[in-house]
């Protein structure tokens, strides 16, 4: 909570600074601009009278003075954006910690090696005979997996004790035929997070895909 407050407070302060800056002119402007010069700008009828002043070097410097102000505002916005992104990350982590505390957390990952004998279509995952995930892959996602991507397929909570995980894979097997295979793993959930990986690889010797579930000890 303290971490969030640490990030949230500067963001709110920066937001307040930006909004007040947008509504009222910066005090430095008011200090360098004589009231007499400011008045004709506010009065449209007097605008032609102000035109000759543009030739005055002091007046010409005015836009140049405005440029650093814009730069400062831009820097403030960038800082604000960075703070917002940091805050979002902190909140995401906090949410995960709250929803999936380490002592009950179970995460399931999926990875693919090669993929010569198997083109993935869906993966259905059951834990203790209850479906927890049923994922349909698009060609883009399948390609990402083949390029070495690891997908977090499921994140949930489990009680300490013995459990069974069953994964059913469907797709195209060797010779472009419809392919459906299952893999099962009995595992023990102790205190502390549990990480499991569904690994699809090619078994060259049998010219078949291989499906295994690894327990990240």
């Amino acid at each position: 909570m303290l971490r969030v407050a640490r990030v949230l407070i500067p963001v709110m302060l920066a937001l307040a600074a930006v909004s007040s800056g947008a509504q009222t002119p910066p005090p430095t402007d008011a200090a360098v601009t004589p009231p007499a010069a400011a008045a004709p700008m506010a009065d449209p009828a007097a605008a032609p009278a102000a035109e000759p002043a543009a030739a005055d070097p002091a007046a010409a410097a005015e836009p140049a003075a405005a440029a650093p102000d814009t730069r400062a505002l831009d820097e403030q916005i960038q800082t604000l954006k960075k703070d917002a992104v940091d805050l979002n990350r902190e909140l995401f982590m906090l949410e995960e910690e709250l929803l999936f505390p380490a002592n009950t957390q179970v995460a399931l990952f999926l990875s693919m090696d090669v993929g010569e004998y198997f083109a993935i279509d869906t993966v259905q995952v059951k834990i203790d005979n209850k479906e927890v995930s049923n994922y349909l892959y698009t060609p883009r996602e399948a390609e990402a997996l083949l390029r070495g991507g690891v997908q977090r397929l499921y994140l949930g909570n489990l009680k300490v004790g013995d459990h069974e995980l069953v994964a059913i894979f469907t797709g195209k097997g060797p010779s472009e035929r419809d392919y459906r295979r299952g893999a099962a793993l009995r595992f023990k959930k102790s205190v502390g997070a549990k990480y499991l990986e569904l690994k699809i690889s090619d078994r060259q010797r049998r010219a078949q895909p291989e499906f295994e579930i690894k327990d990240w000890e």
Binding site: D121, Y135, L136, Y137, T138, P139, R140, E141
Partner: protein, 161 residues
Amino acid sequence: MATLLAFGAATAALSAERALRAGQAAPDFALRSVGGPNLRLSEQLGEVVVVAFWSSRCGPCRAHLKELDSLHAALKDQGLIVYAVNVDDDMRAAREYAAGLSLKIPLLLDPGKGVARAYRVDTLPMMFSIDRQGIVRGVRRDDRSGAPSNAGAELRRLLAQ
């Protein structure tokens, strides 16, 4: 009579409340398509997408799909993507119906109706216009204003953003 009217008004209000509204984030989904690859909505983030729900048992859906196909042909070069989501129980009927229409837009199959439920579809045909940020900007039902041809201006505006 008054009770009936009140009941009707209450039902309509409930239905309007339940339906996905403009300004809400479009729920993501991945579905199989007829004769094509699996498609996921979130992979089209940055494009303007129309998600239209239809069924082979729905009378106006035929004309609706043809209009959507024409609209897609006219605006696809500007980046319009159309997903026509079928909600039939019988996938064979849906495939045959689609084959008879010879459409160019991808026809997706939602036999479990999970996507239709996520979009809170309460009538057929029904279409949702989704902007480049993945936000629903228009919801059209099967009435005169709900015809896809009437959505052209709205879609052009979204494509121009």
